[in-house]
Symmetry: none
């Protein structure tokens, strides 16, 4: 795999060809008998079906068969970065998502405001989903009142709603710390645990931070404690430009996806108010870039909510916008997702993700409908998602021949 991925870097060339990757988060679903099929089967998607008929389809595994990916690995695989080798902590993703300029001396962690009861037991892992304004007010208060040892700075930054990012900056800090978020209610937050001896001092600093935070937030009705997870340091990434000679634009509304795109060197379009505006943004910028990452979040959100009909509606909305892309006549148009989020499971799943690759250079298959079952008979077969970027570049004529 890694061998093949280096190969792409060597073979990629700059041309005039343009590629669009439409990524519907959590795209894949599952059949729900009383609904008459999966979300993709039930949704009326004439434009996606036509695209599938003209293109070549498959079912791709974001990480490996059986592995349920988070959004990080799911996206890295789409862009041709090995999702295990390049996996990074949630903290770094969150920091990138708020445009925080991380340095190599930083350790970042994703923060949830939470609610604990008088015995210190977690009763709500999201603090009743407090609004962003409350979050901003409390972040300011934490920054003002918490003091850390000489030589260690911290940054506490609001993400959105109940989510925030904590960054520690100092010499010899380690990210080898276990989460303090136990991922369930009914027990107290965990103490920060060093996962190797060199992380002991960092664990103590985090402990001090959390003890003070609990005091600062004590009077709050809902957001009276913090849960930390995904401690991570910055790992340097080769950009899409360096690896594949692409000039990429990311159109994504959620911080994490913007963060991932920024890590990979994409330019980031300002947040759009809704999905149609994201498509309009792509059209408005079509002349200025040659690679477009267009991210739709709502397929995943409705899946996570267990809202089958809601996910169907998002799919139908996206379908209605497909002509906005096809009329640009991109050399390659890919439609896929970063993982499956079947509304039947109300969460991410391991099921492989449907893929359409549309280009003049495809060898067409027999698929005429864009859904999980049809794609399982597609000409791309079942593959690791890591292969997608190479396939897309090849169909765009942006890869040279390998070997004599």
């Amino acid at each position: 795999m890694l061998l093949n991925s280096d190969l792409l870097d060597q073979l990629a060339v700059k041309t005039e060809a343009r590629l669009i990757f439409l990524v519907m988060d959590g795209l894949g679903g599952m059949e729900v008998p009383e609904k008459g099929g999966s979300e993709l089967q039930v949704a009326r998607t004439p434009n996606l079906d036509a695209l599938a008929a003209q293109g070549v389809c498959g079912l791709f595994d974001p990480v490996a068969p059986g592995i349920t990916p988070g959004s990080g690995p799911g996206h890295f695989a789409i862009f041709g970065y090995h999702p295990v080798v390049f996996n990074i902590g949630r903290g770094v993703l969150s920091a990138c998502g708020i445009d925080f300029p991380l340095t190599p001396r930083d350790v970042a962690a994703r923060v949830n405001f939470c609610t604990i009861d008088q015995q210190g037991i977690i009763v709500d892992r999201r603090a009743g989903r407090i609004d962003t304004e409350t979050n901003l007010r409390l972040a300011e208060k934490l920054r003002r009142e918490i003091r850390l040892p000489e030589g260690v700075e911290f940054f506490f930054e609001t993400e959105k709603d109940y989510r925030a990012v904590l960054i520690l900056r100092g010499d010899d800090l380690s990210d080898q710390l276990a989460d303090t978020d136990p991922q369930r209610v009914g027990m107290p937050p965990l103490d920060p645990q060093a996962l190797d001896p060199a992380a002991k001092r960092t664990a103590e600093i985090i402990q001090s931070f959390l003890t003070q935070a609990r005091q600062v937030l004590a009077g709050e009705p809902r957001a009276n404690m913090l849960l930390l997870r995904g401690f991570a340091k910055l790992m340097p990434y080769k950009s899409l430009r360096e690896r594949f000679q692409l000039s990429p634009l990311a159109i994504a509304n959620y911080p994490m996806y913007r963060g991932i795109a920024r890590l990979l060197g994409m330019e980031i379009h300002p947040v759009c108010p809704d999905i149609p505006s994201e498509f309009a943004a792509l059209r408005a910028n079509y002349d200025k870039y040659d690679f477009f990452f267009l991210h739709v979040k709502d397929t995943d959100s409705r899946g996570e909510d267990g809202d089958f009909d809601g996910k169907v509606r998002v799919l139908e909305l996206v379908d209605s916008l497909i002509p906005q892309l096809t009329s640009l006549q991109p050399d390659v148009l890919v439609v896929t997702g970063d993982h499956s989020t079947p509304s039947a499971l109300a969460g991410h799943s391991w099921h492989p993700v449907p893929v359409i690759l549309s280009a003049k250079t495809v060898r067409r298959d027999l698929v005429t409908s864009f859904d999980e079952r049809s794609c399982s008979l597609g000409g791309l077969g079942r593959q690791p998602m890591m292969n997608l970027m190479g396939l897309a570049l090849a169909h765009a004529g942006r890869l040279q021949k390998f070997g004599a």
Copy 2:
């Protein structure tokens, strides 16, 4: 991949079973709507269809999805050698193809005679496709007139038409040199560049060679300069006999394929005048070997020419000869190619290659027609071509059980 390939070596055993690999170069194609399908779909191939129906089929990726292979990597993968790990320079392939006995002190490069104008700008990268006779005359002249420093020998050998091979022999020579062939007209040949410091002396020797060659060829109307590419030293290969206990015979008419076969320790049948004679040669030698590599070049040549109908005719000719093989009742008969060469693209492509594996031991699938689309639904599915040799040996009963 490497793990699995070592495994094969350990498990392979010698038996009476015979295997035939019919390799149609550039076999895979693409649909051309006005022709009514791909070359394989349009060709009448009743014998190949019957073989597909009795066997098990699939679509195999020579190197990796999206990678367009040269003939070298495509063939190494067929024989179970990792096409990236074992990739070798064009120079070594060309040297093997003319039966030149390379030594570890040698650096080989592929040569094109070319035409430059009075300003030294390349106007024809193939010197008007001079004939072999002219090539032989000029090679003799170069050998006679060029002098290299003490301790360095050179061999300048005609390949065919405008193609030749240059071999430098001496101590501490390096193959870390960039091509002097810029791969396009309108600019002068590049100077030989050392890609690492240890190659500096070799670069100087090549520079001296080229400067003298230009003087020697100055009076020629067309072949008045040389372009060098694919500098390479010999890499030792374990033979098919060592790895798989096979006694292989190669029947191939083009130098490069003969060269690859020789590298892998195959015996090489003399050149045959045409495709039917190649099949006859196999029959005549069927008792003396247990592995047969039968190479058909014309499928690729017609594909490269963009000649859809010509490629169809070659496929139909090969189909008519299939009974010559099946009547021998080999234990395993494989039909595949080293890569796809769709006539629609007039060149090698990344599209995966159809495979038939025919043996008494196959688990049959539903494929009844030998073409790209049918094979995409075959029982072998989509796999790396590297897996083919293991599958073939297994179906021949030449692999032991792994583990207790």
